[in-house]
């Protein structure tokens, strides 16, 4: 440790210097205040022993100068003075001194004071060091946060939102939300909505949810079914996140043609279907662990099903909503949420829940991200291709001279394992049939393919679907029969051809089943157009130039106009 001794008396200087040197300190000296400031700057001592009464510049002035010069570092200054009255002491402390010692110097007391001041100086150094480190961290943290914020703001695809159908409110506990709500439309015109809630909250939760976001969009866009999407999300989260991190999620897929809802709920609170009359008609509790907990082999992607007869709305929330505590730690509760839900459509339920919740948590600390989503299950949305008249499209589909043919045959094993439609759509994308036709072609192909499989091979009776409870039965039976399927195939034949300068797509789907009474089915459909079953086929008929069945009814051919 280096000590600066300032005294105008050479005897005192010598005495103190020798004394401190024998104690093992390094010393430097100055004869007056002005010199003291210069030596201080040049030598950077760790402690200063300063006489008060000196020529040129006294000890108080020198101390004030030193304090002014060096604000980054605290160096203790000990005054020596013959004046020991309180007034003098106060003056010294005011000038920036730290302690006071009377002359003549008591050597024993001096040693103790030096040691005490040295201890304080060490602590001070440490505090300064930590403060600097903290400041640097804060700045780095702010930069990182800005970048993360930017990334997260851009990863949620706002262009995919469906404001007419889906309303969402997300209230993060911190700067970042570990809750996200996403919507995306599949090429088959199903609306997929995902509410995901990653473990914890803040930036770490927000980062954890990113893999889910990306996969959800890309899988939906490619037309994968809900179980395939959920399985992929689980695989992603399991692979990317550590064991103690996971993502609770409710994923809903809505088909506005069939009025069906498929839902997979893993670790999210109950999801409700509330009729326009205000009755909670259906509740879907979590039936799976959250995404990222189970290995692929243990993971169950089976969704739950529902078909609505009366118009209504789906409501879902993250666990932050029922668990939100008020200032006396009373949670908002699921009971209160349900009470607010059970009101007729058009009575401002969404806003009411939001307002009630905000009132509830006012003055309390928000511990978790809160989100609320409602999805309208009513009239067919405007984007469904219902009103499109056949063959009138002005959209061109790639090069009109292109012609190709694609033939694919899937056996029992492939029918069980593959999500065949996205696969075929992927080829169609490569062959550039154009964005406009993509959705419609997907719908036609999907309808014919599913009919071939469900009715042609699995011999499922679509009348099941007319009964609201029958839908689940239908799905269960479908799974059973699919598992037992053998020695059969579905053949898909796609051909782009030209006739009279018109560009057309022929879609043929053939199954190896016994066929069915297609003439009777179509007649019945036309008589009762509002029934659920066969509605898809009617849509196909509307969208295509023609739809014909041949053979025993096990071959369907649709002609679709591309330009």
């Amino acid at each position: 440790m280096k000590i600066l001794i300032v005294d105008d008396s050479p005897e005192n200087l010598l005495l103190l210097t020798q004394h401190l040197k024998t104690l093992g300190y390094e010393t430097v000296s100055a004869k007056n205040g002005e010199e003291a400031v210069a030596v201080y700057q040049a030598q950077r001592p760790d402690l200063v022993i300063m006489d008060v009464m000196m020529p040129v510049m006294d000890g108080y002035q020198a101390t004030a100068r030193i304090r002014h010069l060096d604000t980054a570092r605290w160096v203790p200054i000990l005054f020596l003075s013959a004046h020991t009255d309180d007034h003098e002491r106060t003056k010294g402390l005011e000038a920036g001194g730290d302690d006071y010692l009377a002359k003549p110097v008591n050597v024993f007391l001096l040693n103790n004071k030096i040691m005490a001041l040295h201890r304080i100086a060490d602590m001070q150094d440490q505090v300064t060091h930590y403060a600097r480190e903290l400041q640097a961290n804060l700045e780095q943290n702010r930069d990182e946060r800005l970048l993360a914020r930017y990334l997260l703001d851009h990863i949620i695809r706002q262009d995919k939102e469906e404001p007419d159908l889906v309303r969402a409110w997300v209230s993060p506990a911190q700067h970042f939300s570990g809750d996200v709500v996403m919507t995306a439309r599949s090429p088959g015109n199903e609306l997929n909505v995902l509410l995901a809630d990653a473990t914890g909250h803040g930036l770490s939760a927000a980062i954890s949810v990113i893999p889910v976001i990306e996969s959800f969009y890309s899988m939906t866009e490619k037309g994968f079914s809900l179980p395939s999407i959920v399985r992929e999300l689980n695989r992603k989260v399991k692979h990317l996140l550590p064991i103690d991190r996971f993502v609770a999620a409710a994923i809903i897929s809505i088909d506005y043609i069939d009025h069906t809802i498929r839902i997979w709920n893993g670790g999210a609170p109950e999801v409700f279907f509330v009729t326009d009359g205000g009755e909670i008609q259906r509740t879907w509790a979590s039936t799976h662990p959250a995404l990222g907990i189970l290995h692929d082999a243990e993971f169950d992607s089976t969704p739950q099903y529902f078909q609505w007869e009366e118009f209504g709305s789906v409501f879902m929330c993250s666990d932050g909503l029922p668990e939100a505590e008020d200032s006396s730690k009373i949670p908002f509760s699921m009971t209160q949420f349900k009470q607010l839900l059970a009101r007729p459509y058009g009575t401002g339920r969404f806003q009411l829940i939001k307002d009630s919740l905000n009132a509830h948590i006012e003055g309390a600390q928000q511990r978790d991200d809160i989100s609320l989503v409602t999805i309208r299950c009513g009239e067919q949305p405007h984007w469904l291709p219902l009103t499109e008249s056949k063959g009138q499209s002005q959209h061109t589909a790639g090069n009109i001279h292109s012609r190709w043919r694609l033939n694919l045959s899937l056996g029992a094993e492939e029918l069980r394992q593959l999500d065949a439609l996205p696969l075929i759509m992927n080829w169609l994308d490569q062959l550039q049939i154009g964005a406009h036709h993509r959705g419609q072609a997907f719908l036609v192909l999907g309808e014919l393919f599913n009919n071939a499989l469900d009715h042609g091979l699995l011999q499922l009776d679509s009348r099941f679907k007319q009964d609201p409870n029958g839908f689940e039965q239908y799905i269960n039976l479908r799974e059973q029969r699919l598992a037992g399927l053998s020695d059969c195939n579905v053949e898909v034949d796609l051909e782009r051809f030209h006739i009279e300068a018109q560009d057309r797509l022929r879609i043929t789907v053939r199954d190896s089943g016994p066929g069915f009474d297609f003439a009777g089915m179509i007649a019945k459909r036309e008589a009762k157009p509002d029934q659920f079953s066969g509605r898809g086929i009617m849509l196909v008929k509307q969208m295509c130039l023609s739809l014909d069945y041949s053979g025993k009814g096990n071959e369907a051919t649709a002609i679709y106009q591309l330009s």
Binding site: D244, G267, P269, P289, D319, R367
Partner: protein, 103 residues
């Protein structure tokens, strides 16, 4: 109420007892206590006593999953015991019944 974690080992059975709010704030205590149990010789059973827990959040569920993984590595049977109704509900929503034996 302040949260606390304690552990004891007798014979082949380790008991981890939790009290108060079970969330990320107790993760250090949680870890040092389960390490005591997992590192003890001859333990093949681990009981996590949730009797005193009145709140559990998702990061706590994550901590339980991590412990499950570590217990499985050492072939230790893990059980969750005596959750209060509110805690049991959270475990049910998370479908933890599929992953843990809960009594």
């Amino acid at each position: 109420m302040a949260s606390s974690v304690s552990s004891s080992v007798s014979d082949h059975k380790g008991v981890l007892s939790l009290n108060g709010r079970f969330d990320f704030s107790i993760h250090r205590d949680f870890r040092s206590n389960y390490e005591n149990i997992l590192n003890a010789d001859g333990v093949n059973e681990l009981e996590v006593n949730l009797n005193g827990v009145d709140y559990i959040d998702s990061s706590a569920l994550g901590m339980l999953l991590l412990l499950r993984e570590k217990a499985m590595e050492k072939n230790i049977q893990m059980k969750l015991l005596n959750p209060k109704d509110s805690v049991r509900q959270v475990l049910e929503v998370a479908n933890f019944g599929r992953l843990f034996s809960i009594a």
